[in-house]
């Protein structure tokens, strides 16, 4: 098994722990993951609303690079995952757009081809590697750890490619395979407020607080997520929430970190210490 890897900006910046744990887990699983050469911004910025064509071309460039290889591309960041998939669909449905974008790419010496598959690591772990294999690799089961799995909006909306739009379960099943318990809760895909925290901090913070508070109410010791944007938004502003709503004090971890722990990898290797809200208490003894 071999995959290409599109990191995007988050995994090289605020989401470094995600990259570290993602690569560590796949390394430990013996799956080859090769970073896409010379990748660029996925296009998940305000660019899309400024100039659609250019933004498609931006994303299309990454796809054209990926098309040189046959292996599927993993995009762990939800935003990258969505934008790359959206670009493929957009170009597939709109021949005029495709003509413009492929023309632009050709001018840059790149050949855009259909058929590249952009996958989320959740999808790869559950559907390619399989829960049975994960279970076999678990050395230190996360027994007794109660988690709230929080998916965020982008990996199931608007395209539900590998999980249900309203009630996704992939990550719950993965966490259960690692021995953890997942609380049943209804906010798995509710907005984390991430896109508002910068512009309407009150609204953004409130939305984030709702998520964290509900998870806490349901007895979760930590929140687990596949999205670097959600992770940052939910983790970084808990101090600011304190004055307004209360302090959730809820560590927010990447699912890859928890899988890594269960597989017996070192906490440092998985970037566990990088979180703002310390996870030590929740992960006591692991």
């Amino acid at each position: 098994m071999r995959y290409q890897y599109f990191p995007g900006c988050s995994l090289k910046g605020s989401g470094r722990a995600y990259e570290e744990s993602f690569l560590a887990v796949f390394r430990a699983l013996g799956v080859e993951v090769r970073e896409l050469e010379d990748w660029n911004c996925c296009g998940a910025t305000a660019y899309m609303s400024v100039d659609e064509t250019k933004s498609y071309a931006l994303a299309g460039r990454n796809l054209a690079i990926a098309a040189r290889d046959r292996a599927d591309v993993m995009a762990p960041c939800s935003a990258c995952y969505l934008v790359l998939n959206k670009t493929m669909r957009g170009l597939g449905e709109n021949p005029e757009l495709k003509r413009k974008v492929t023309g632009a790419l050709k001018a840059g010496g790149l050949d855009y081809r259909e058929g590249v598959k952009v996958r989320h690591p959740l999808d790869v772990l559950v559907n390619d590697i399989g829960l049975d294999e994960i279970r076999k690799r678990v050395k230190k089961p996360l027994s007794g750890l109660k988690l709230a799995s929080y998916y965020g909006c982008q990996i199931v909306r608007p395209f539900a490619t590998f999980d249900d739009q309203d009630d996704p379960v992939t990550m719950d099943r993965l966490m259960q395979a690692c021995g953890a318990e997942c609380v049943d809760w209804p906010l798995k895909t509710h907005c984390c407020g991430g896109s508002l925290t910068g512009t309407l901090p009150d609204a953004g913070l409130r939305l984030a607080y709702i998520i964290l508070n509900e998870a806490k109410k349901r007895g979760a010791a930590a929140l687990v997520t596949p999205c670097p944007l959600c992770q940052f938004n939910l983790d970084a502003y808990q101090g600011q929430m304190a004055g307004k709503f209360g302090r959730p004090n809820m560590p927010v971890l990447y699912f890859t970190q928890l899988i890594g722990l269960a597989m017996g990898l070192d906490a440092d290797e998985l970037g566990i210490g990088r979180g703002i809200i310390p996870a030590q208490a929740a992960l006591a003894g692991r």
Partner: protein, 666 residues
């Protein structure tokens, strides 16, 4: 004697008629230009245009011209032959011409209605006219074969539609076999407590009809049975019915139900399908007290005797009629009928598919059908509205259009949900006094006394919120929401997003085609629309007919409908079958194939191709032979005959080649 017109040059004399169809055709096609063009075609002795060819004067025109101009062929350029071919054949016959010497040109459905450019639509009409004139020359005089109609009728499905159709036919003196796949007839209606808008008790109006079916000397009732195979053709169908074992002799059981009491299982503990899983039953059971036939049956999946062969068989020992027969096997029976009424009903949308409403996750979420059982006096709670945890709900929310009017699931309106939601709102309020909220997109109450019923509910204090519910959640944001199900909805009348806490959510699931609708329609050789309901022959003019003669459809298998409409349609289907039976015979389309014996080499290519066994190999003559009565006129043998020795009437090589040359010659 009409003068021979010199211009037909020895060709049969053709009359050409083009219809304006008001402006339907004339609005897009230059009818006069086509008429003039046709007048110059070889063989055409007269060409006319007329406002409505299908009207009496239009038909009369053809009939009188036949006499006046000595016409030997007729071409009518108008609408689809599927609509009016028969009309113009009759008009020709009236004028003394063999009706099969008529050809129609479809310039309405296939031209004026689908094109906008007048010039190209007119060109198309001319091309098609030329082809029809070229082809009609080859039309031979044909006669329809008559075959007798078997007066017996098969009704498939024992819901209210099948029951009503069967009774109507039986009352008219016809022998009916009613086949139902469940153990009892009654269908969905038997599940209901009350019916809208009259709120009369469903059982009170249904069970007498069920008993009448059982008691009727002209009805043979086969429940727990399914149609396996259908062969033959209109008037003469051979149907194979699979009869599943009940392990109880139906003729001996009187339905005393003592065996149920005696069963080694002291308490009912198995899933009770009839009660939507809300109640439990024993391995030996009867769906409900008024089940018809009132005969118990044994479930082989749960019965100890049938599973292990080791049981005290207390059930059998208390039966003073010795009705138990654990050795019963599934068997097939063949019956002969002349016509078939399909009334196979619907299923409700699977509420689990709409994850946002939490059905299957939150015990407080119910489907409407479950609530029908809860409010039913003979249901699992004897009519008390009790939640799965035993609490009585203080507030209930009813979500309309679940699995209806939804791009993600079913696009159609299920027609009954608004009304049954109102009915359930009324019954829940009446039974429990709870606050009831209806969440609707818009209220659809178009039946007799339906709007009035809606008005009545408005007066009863039932809340109406216009908006599609976004989600049902147990995420509480205030103390009063704790322990409740919260319904998040945009109230589009108030213009705000609301959170309404309730104890019970009712999903008004829509109506869908039965899970096996595709298999069933293939078995009966009928069609389905894109949504999967059985396809009627014409949406307006032949709503209970299908494209297979002698097979009629009634009730919700054709599309969502309520009880009054279903019963009306069942009556219509019965009437269609009666009309067929009373005619005593059917006339078969003469578009059958025939072998030119002298030219047949006996290569047998055609023999296996016929799906009806109409083509056989005559061992004595060493040639192929076609049985005209069995032949349904597909023409596959004519296409395949490698020496061109098989001809299909009306679709012969000469006719089709002329048509090809005709559309292309210019």
């Amino acid at each position: 004697m009409p003068k021979k017109d010199h211009k037909t040059n020895g060709l049969p004399r053709v009359g050409f008629y083009i219809c304006h169809c008001g402006s339907n055709i004339a609005g897009t096609i230059d009818v006069a230009a086509v008429r003039e063009y046709a007048a110059g075609l070889p063989g055409v002795a007269v060409a006319r245009d007329y406002k409505y060819m299908c009207s009496d004067p239009g038909q009369e025109l053809i009939a009188s011209d036949i006499e006046k101009y000595g016409l030997e062929r007729i071409v009518v350029s108008a609408c689809s032959p599927n609509l009016h071919e028969e009309t113009f054949r009759k008009a020709a016959a009236k004028g003394g011409l063999n009706p099969f010497r008529v050809q129609m040109v479809n310039i309405r459905e296939h031209a004026s209605w689908v094109h906008t450019d007048r010039a190209s639509a007119t060109e198309k009409a001319k091309d098609l006219a030329r082809a029809a004139v070229a082809r009609v020359v080859h039309h031979r005089a044909l006669e329809r074969k008559r075959v007798p109609v078997d007066p017996n009728v098969l009704v498939v499905g024992g819901g209210i539609a099948g029951i009503h159709a069967a009774l109507t036919l039986a009352n008219a003196g016809k022998k009916v076999t009613l086949v139902e796949k469940e153990a009892t007839i009654g269908g969905h209606m038997a599940l209901f407590d009350k019916t809208f808008p009259t709120l009369d008790c469903a059982a009170c109006i249904l069970t007498p009809k069920m008993s009448a079916v059982k008691a009727h000397p002209n009805i043979r009732l086969w429940t727990w049975s399914e149609v396996e195979k259908v062969e033959g053709y209109v008037g003469n169908y051979k149907v194979t019915v699979k009869r599943k074992p009940r392990y109880v002799n139906e003729d001996l059981c009187v339905g005393c139900m003592e065996c149920i009491d005696a069963c080694v299982y002291k308490e009912p503990k198995f899933h009770d399908k009839f009660n939507q899983g809300l109640g439990k039953r024993k391995p030996v059971y009867i769906d409900f007290p008024q089940a018809t036939p009132k005969v118990v049956l044994v479930d082989p999946e749960t019965c100890l005797q049938l599973k292990t062969g080791k049981c005290q068989k207390k059930c059998a020992s208390v039966c003073d009629r010795n009705a138990f027969d654990f050795g019963q096997k599934e068997r097939s029976e063949e019956i002969q009928v002349g016509s078939i009424v399909l009334a196979t009903g619907f299923r409700t949308y699977d509420a689990k598919k709409d994850k946002q409403y939490g059905y299957g996750r939150y015990p407080g979420v119910y489907t409407a059908l479950e609530v029908e059982r809860l409010v039913n006096a003979s249901g699992p709670t004897s009519g008390e509205i009790k939640l799965r945890d035993g609490r009585e709900p203080k507030a209930v929310g009813i979500i309309h259009c679940v699995g209806s009017r939804d791009e993600k699931s079913n696009k159609w309106c299920s027609r009954v949900c608004c009304m049954y939601s109102l009915k359930l709102a009324h019954l829940i309020k009446e039974h429990s006094g709870a606050e009831v909220y209806n969440f609707y997109i818009d209220m659809r109450a178009p039946g007799k006394a339906y709007e009035e019923f809606y008005d009545k509910l408005l007066g009863e204090g039932v809340h109406f919120v216009r908006g599609r519910v976004a989600e049902v959640t147990d995420w509480a944001v205030s103390p009063e929401e704790e322990g409740k199900l919260v319904m998040r909805v945009e109230d589009t009348l108030a213009g705000i997003v609301r959170r309404i806490p309730v104890d019970m959510v009712v999903l008004s699931t829509g109506l869908e085609p039965q899970a096996d609708a595709q298999e069933v329609r293939r078995r009966f050789n009928i069609g389905c629309g894109s949504e999967g309901f059985f396809q009627e022959r014409h949406p307006k003019l032949a709503p209970v007919n299908t494209f297979t003669d002698g097979v009629y459809i009634a009730g919700a298998c054709q599309g969502p409908r309520d009880i009054p409409d279903t019963v009306a349609q069942a009556g219509a289907a019965a009437a269609e079958a009666l009309a067929l039976i009373d005619a005593g015979h059917v006339e078969l389309e003469p578009n059958t194939s025939a072998v030119a014996e002298a030219e047949c080499s006996g290569c047998k290519t055609c023999v296996p191709l016929c799906p009806y066994g109409a083509v056989s190999f005559d061992e004595a003559k060493r040639k192929a032979a076609i049985n005209e009565v069995l032949c349904k006129g597909c023409g596959v043998c004519a296409a395949a005959c490698p020496s061109g020795s098989i001809t299909q009437n009306l679709f012969g090589d000469d006719e089709i080649f002329s048509e090809i040359e005709g559309v292309l010659a210019k």
